[in-house]
Subunit: 209 residues, 2 copies
Amino acid sequence: MAFPNIITDLINYFERLPGVGSKTAQRLVFYMLNFPDRELEEFGSLVGALKKRTQLCSTCKNISEEETCKICSDTSRNHRQILVVTSPLDVVALERTDYKGVYHVLHGLIDPLSYIGPDDIYLASLVERLEKLVFEVKNDPDSFVEVVLATNAGMEGESTAHYIRDLIREKGFDESVVRITRIGRGLPVGGDIEYADDNTLSRALDSRR
Amino acid sequence: MAFPNIITDLINYFERLPGVGSKTAQRLVFYMLNFPDRELEEFGSLVGALKKRTQLCSTCKNISEEETCKICSDTSRNHRQILVVTSPLDVVALERTDYKGVYHVLHGLIDPLSYIGPDDIYLASLVERLEKLVFEVKNDPDSFVEVVLATNAGMEGESTAHYIRDLIREKGFDESVVRITRIGRGLPVGGDIEYADDNTLSRALDSRR
């Protein structure tokens, strides 16, 4: 069955989105035919302008409309506590907590099997940030910088976290000045021991206190 | 957490699509940031032009780029056999069979609870089509027109089918000239009796032959 070309083309774009198969893409596009014309135009112009109207924050590499994102411009936050995350969506999730430090968004994880090396994610800019912060902190003996590694627990997340730890140590920052921590692992709040997977249980035991 | 405005606006549009919740909408929009700029522009312009570049076929009301759709322009098909369906997606599914008649797309079902009456779906145009066809067939005693009702088996589908049957009968077309049939119901091919629902089983028994 030949759809009108514009519908076929749109279905092809929707199919490229994660979790959208060909049936879903068809349903979405046909559903959009019910939108008023004016709204379709607005929807379309937002899609077209998405990348032109956003950029990566020059400091933390989060998606931002300005050169410096809202979080990095917020002087009430602790700019010496940097939470390193994989993607901007992690920032969204963590912003629902009462975390008051800042972020560094890697935009990916080191994954040699997919040809993603350390230079393909925002690591160099993290080291640059640390160098600047260490310079600021230098004259204040009580100050320190904390890097909280919050990559996911999968293989790529773990090896990226190790790589970052080694990289920072190699740069020769004093361990008492640049402190590296890892986000806590254990049973989720409300999680039953009975239903937890083995990895989570081992981690929960390891991080007992 | 405040996203850049354009991202919030896009997420709102995606959330209005069927089956897309707020988490999915976020994931889709952030994923789109990986598209090259040129492709986002094309995607956006397709969305914006979707309704301007499509229309309803003047005959069968299916979505079409031309005034008359490809199926209605196809002279090799039987234009005296009209399969009445609810939506353009039904046409897509039925075109995968070897059906060689034409269609009539209602764009909805009569549903008083949602304030959708007979005038809100494309019924008047169906009657007009029948009037024209009956006029054509008049001089040929062996010819007839077949209307195959293929609305879904739910309450609205059944009552719409009944309504159409009554409407056609009320118009006084000769029963041997305008023949009304209903799409067959029964066990799906490959379906086990054990797992079929009660309605399907009753229908399968009723339509035994």
